[in-house]
């Protein structure tokens, strides 16, 4: 035996054959690798690099000193962390009972609540923030005015321009994320788990508290971490609600570094800890779900029946309805009212009714119409690019066509840990200067959006690819079809639905993208979401509401198409 092992191993002929210079898979790999370096690696590298150099290109730590040299900047940082923690806890409180009610109980009105959660998911957080400004602004907010007229007291009951107001709004629009994960996990728990508790004498609440919820606890923790990441990288809501109250967070401070004079180096340095935190928490989240994610015994007897709650089912419904009322119904009513009003403060009277806001915003305003076209174009190209790219990557990774193919898959999900605003800084640092000088072009918007939404598209494409057994393709090839024939005739048709779903999700995400766009746009490439943000700075809530309503209604239409094409799992699928 020993003399055999001492001999040098024979050349791996199979591997070498794979690496033959003209193998199409290998060419494709190189092409995709180049694209991924352009979209992910280089911008990330540029953030690090720019943060460590001064404007003359000399190595320095000066930028870090500037970024963290002031107490105010440190304060923004702790504000962000605290916002993340509070929003995370509150959104868990919103989401977990609703997920449980929908997945495990006989609560009434399930379809309604479910649609409401989708509504909250679809509502851009900055639109929610605007709705709540109209509702709970300290002076003119409707809730406060109603309270004053009812009580006769001259005080504001609610003030949305506070830290707790900000937490409330952020949680209200991030709880659907928790719902997606926790609901999916709860649906996988077999009813026998609960029956086993019931037959041993435990009551429904005892079973929920000691068995059902603990089983999905790892998922709840993981979802909480995701909400934290979402909350600290949000730009719109903190800018709208925090800035007037002089509460700054990391993202708004980064925006400050980006306003005249533009200090990219300092912004890059300042974003570094945020990036570090997201990476660490993302890994933690992954680890929590992997390590403590329980594989429940399914197979035979794994069916799910709804728990009978008796009269309590109305309490569970009331809770879900309450959350949806706050997140969707109330803000939408107020936004519709503002969009149809001459002056939103004058209330629900017939004299006040007008359609002028829509006419003005869509046809008369010098640039607003253009922003609608821009949003549609950028989103179209982003979705097309992201889905095509990730389909090819998923194919190569899944079929292991070349060695190290999984590197591409890793790069495709990497942007998940990059907050949108940090990504924008990276793109700015990498491609604004010559030779490419892409700043101000539509291309840089599309490319940065593509990078931002690549992980979502990749997860969809990869899961679709996993569901296709390689033998489907091998059957084509043994009958004489080429690999391309297999892709064209078998794989693409089979993946049609899931690719359409991925396309729509990216498209919808791109139409509402604010944090990446706000750093990279110029006048001609302004999008709807930026326009809405600008209008709110000017206080023109009637016009803004009209434009926002156009965005929300269009999004809902696309979501409806998605449900038609893809089915119930669209959007709310765990990914």
């Amino acid at each position: 035996m020993s003399d055999i092992t001492l001999k040098p191993a024979p050349a791996p002929r199979g591997r070498l054959a794979n690496l033959a210079p003209l193998e199409p898979g290998r060419l494709l790999w190189f092409g995709l690798a180049a694209v991924m370096i352009f979209l992910v690696v280089y911008p990330l590298w540029q953030i690090v690099s720019v943060s460590l150099h001064d404007s003359d290109g000399n190595f320095t730590f000066e930028n870090y000193a500037k970024a963290f040299g002031r107490a105010r900047y440190i304060q923004s940082f702790t504000n962000s962390l605290w916002l993340g923690v509070c929003a995370c806890v509150l959104s868990l409180c919103f989401a977990v009972p609703i997920s449980w009610g929908l997945a495990r109980t006989d609560m009434p009105g399930k379809r309604f609540v479910w649609l409401g959660v989708i509504g909250a998911y679809v509502m851009p957080p900055f639109m929610g923030a605007i709705g709540w400004i109209l509702l709970a602004g300290p002076n003119a907010g409707w809730l406060n005015r109603i309270f004053r007229s009812l009580s006769g007291m001259d005080v504001a009951l609610f003030d949305i321009y506070t830290f707790s107001g900000l937490v409330f709004v952020v949680a209200l629009y991030s709880f659907p994320l928790v719902f997606v994960f926790v609901n999916a996990a709860l649906e996988l728990v077999s009813s026998e788990m609960e029956d086993a508790g019931a037959i041993l004498g435990a009551s429904i609440w005892h079973v929920a508290r000691r068995i059902t919820i603990p089983i999905v606890l790892p998922t709840i923790i993981g979802a909480g971490i995701i909400v934290f990441l979402e909350a600290v990288s949000l730009f719109g809501a903190p800018a709208l609600l925090g800035t007037p109250a002089r509460i700054s967070v990391v993202t708004t401070t980064l925006f400050e570094f980006f306003s005249n004079p533009v200090r990219v180096e300092v912004a890059a340095a300042y974003s570094m800890p945020l990036l570090l935190i997201t990476v660490i928490l993302f890994l933690l989240q992954y680890w929590v779900i992997r390590r403590r994610g329980y594989v429940t015994q399914t197979g035979k007897g794994g069916e799910r029946r709804m728990m009978k709650l008796g009269p309590w089912r109305w309490a569970v419904f009331a809770y879900g309805f309450g959350v949806i009322f706050l997140a969707v119904i109330l803000p939408l009513i107020i936004i519709v009212q503002a969009a149809l009003s001459k002056a939103w403060g004058q209330g629900f009277s017939f004299d006040n009714l007008t359609l002028n806001n829509f006419r003005y915003i869509l046809f008369e305003h010098s640039t607003a119409g253009q922003t609608v076209i821009n949003s549609a174009m950028f989103s179209f190209w982003t979705a097309t690019l992201a889905v095509t790219l990730t389909l090819l990557i998923a194919y190569i990774v899944n079929r292991k066509l070349v060695p190290f193919s999984s590197v591409l898959g890793f790069l495709a999900v990497t942007p998940f840990v990059i907050p949108g605003i940090v990504l924008a800084i990276g793109f700015y640092a990498a491609y604004a200067p010559p030779p490419l000088a892409l700043y101000g072009t539509g291309l840089i918007m599309v490319l940065s959006f593509t990078t931002r939404f690549m992980p979502v598209a990749y997860i969809n494409a990869a899961s679709g690819m996993r569901s296709l057994h390689p033998e489907m393709e091998e059957a084509v090839r043994i009958l004489g079809g080429s690999r391309m024939t297999a892709i064209r005739r078998v794989i693409a048709p089979l993946l049609k639905r899931s690719l359409a779903g991925a396309w729509l999700i990216v498209f919808i995400g791109a139409t509402r993208e604010l944090s990446t766009a706000i750093f990279l746009y110029v006048g001609a490439t302004r999008t709807m979401s930026i326009m809405i943000y600008d209008l709110s700075e000017e206080g023109r809530f009637e016009h803004l509401s009209a434009l926002g309503l156009v965005l929300v209604v269009a999004t809902m239409a696309f979501v409806a198409i998605g449900f038609r094409v893809v089915g119930r799992d669209f959007m709310l699928k765990r990914s």
């Binding site: 086993a196 015994q297 197979g299």
Partner: protein, 352 residues
């Protein structure tokens, strides 16, 4: 003493009658199996006993007290029963000891007693060393033992088992059958066991209830059920058999291949027209006319060698009747050979 009593129990799902007028009494400490093909209503019956499903008609009583009727149902958590599920339903977030101790915790026993009882029962099911493990770190057989321990430790009034072995592989399944019977002999808990596997039912049970299409076909001991099946369904579901159409005529039993005096049979015919059930290994083959008149003459039509037995198909009366016969490996015949099939009528069952 009657522990558990099902009286005219029925359950419909829409137009489908899942359980149809089932009546059954279980003695204290008795182990009864509900045996039948899938969809025969056995699991629905079990879930009604557990209280997960209310009956459409009929009542369930335990210790003489009503538990279920169509109007009201004592919920599962108030029945002092325990159950073993198909998927085991071991809670993955709790250790073995926590799983087993759960029911005792619900009963608010003092901690020290819970610990002592958990420890004792884990010794009984040979899991003493695994108390601190999580279920994902256990094998299928060990999870099954946890489920057993968790159900037994609370000393339930009635233990319900819903196809508990169906997720195990064949050899483990065989081992666990004996384990379940051993635990029953030790604790004498009144038990209802649902299965579609006849050998599982035969190994574990004092009495087997064969169900078909929501009705009880026959309830009896394993020995009686095999030897004296009352219906065609029972005869063919429990073991293999040859079913031959027969009728009663002038003190004789007349069938294809012969007419034998009724007095020679060990059982009484259930009616004018009925069937004879002849087990393949109750037939012996020979080349000569056997002594005594009870034999068929036929030709070997097919044969298969299975190692421990020969499996023959014998065409009787020019192929009008085909008999399956199993013999020892030494009884060798070629296809086409003329043979005599000797049968002892006293062990032939007559079924509806």
């Amino acid at each position: 003493m009657i522990k558990l009593s099902l009286k005219n129990l029925s359950r419909t799902f829409g137009a489908f009658k899942a359980v149809d007028d089932v009546s059954l009494d279980l003695a204290d400490g008795e182990f009864v199996s509900l045996l039948g093909p899938s969809g025969c209503g056995k699991t629905t019956t079990l879930r009604m006993i557990a209280g997960f499903i209310p009956p459409s008609a009929g009542t369930i009583e335990m210790n003489g007290r009503a538990l279920s009727n169509p109007a009201s149902v004592v919920p599962p958590e108030k029945r002092q029963m325990s159950m073993i599920f198909q998927s085991y339903a071991i809670w993955p977030n709790m250790t073995v000891a926590e799983n087993v101790g759960f029911g005792l915790g619900v009963r608010k026993l003092p901690r020290a007693e819970i610990e002592a009882r958990v420890k004792r029962i884990l010794e009984v099911v040979h899991l003493g060393t695994l108390a601190g493990r999580y279920p994902s770190e256990l094998s299928g057989g060990q999870q099954q033992r946890v489920a057993l321990a968790r159900a037994i430790v609370v000393e339930p009034q009635v233990l319900l088992l819903d196809e508990p072995l169906s997720n195990l592989d064949a050899s483990l399944r065989e081992e666990m059958r004996f384990e379940i019977r051993r635990l029953h002999n030790e604790f004498k808990i009144t038990s209802v066991y649902v299965t579609h596997d006849q050998s599982e039912a035969m190994v574990t049970s004092d009495r087997i209830v064969v169900m078909n299409q929501g009705r009880i076909e026959q309830a009896s001991t394993p020995v009686d059920l095999y030897g004296n099946p009352k219906t065609r369904f029972v005869a063919s579901f429990i073991g293999k058999t040859n079913l031959i159409d027969a009728k009663r005529e002038n003190g004789n039993v007349v069938f294809t291949g012969g007419a034998w005096p009724l007095a020679a049979f060990g059982s009484t015919p259930p009616g004018q027209n009925f069937q004879l059930s002849i087990r393949p290994h109750d037939v012996s083959l020979g080349r000569e006319v056997p002594p005594g008149a009870f034999a068929f003459k036929g030709r070997i039509a097919e044969r298969a060698y299975l190692g421990d037995v020969w499996d023959y198909a014998v065409a009787v009366d020019g192929g009008q009747l085909q008999l399956r016969v199993t013999t020892t490996p030494r009884d060798m015949f070629e296809v086409g050979d003329t043979v005599y099939c000797a049968v002892d009528p006293s062990i032939v069952a007559m079924v509806e």
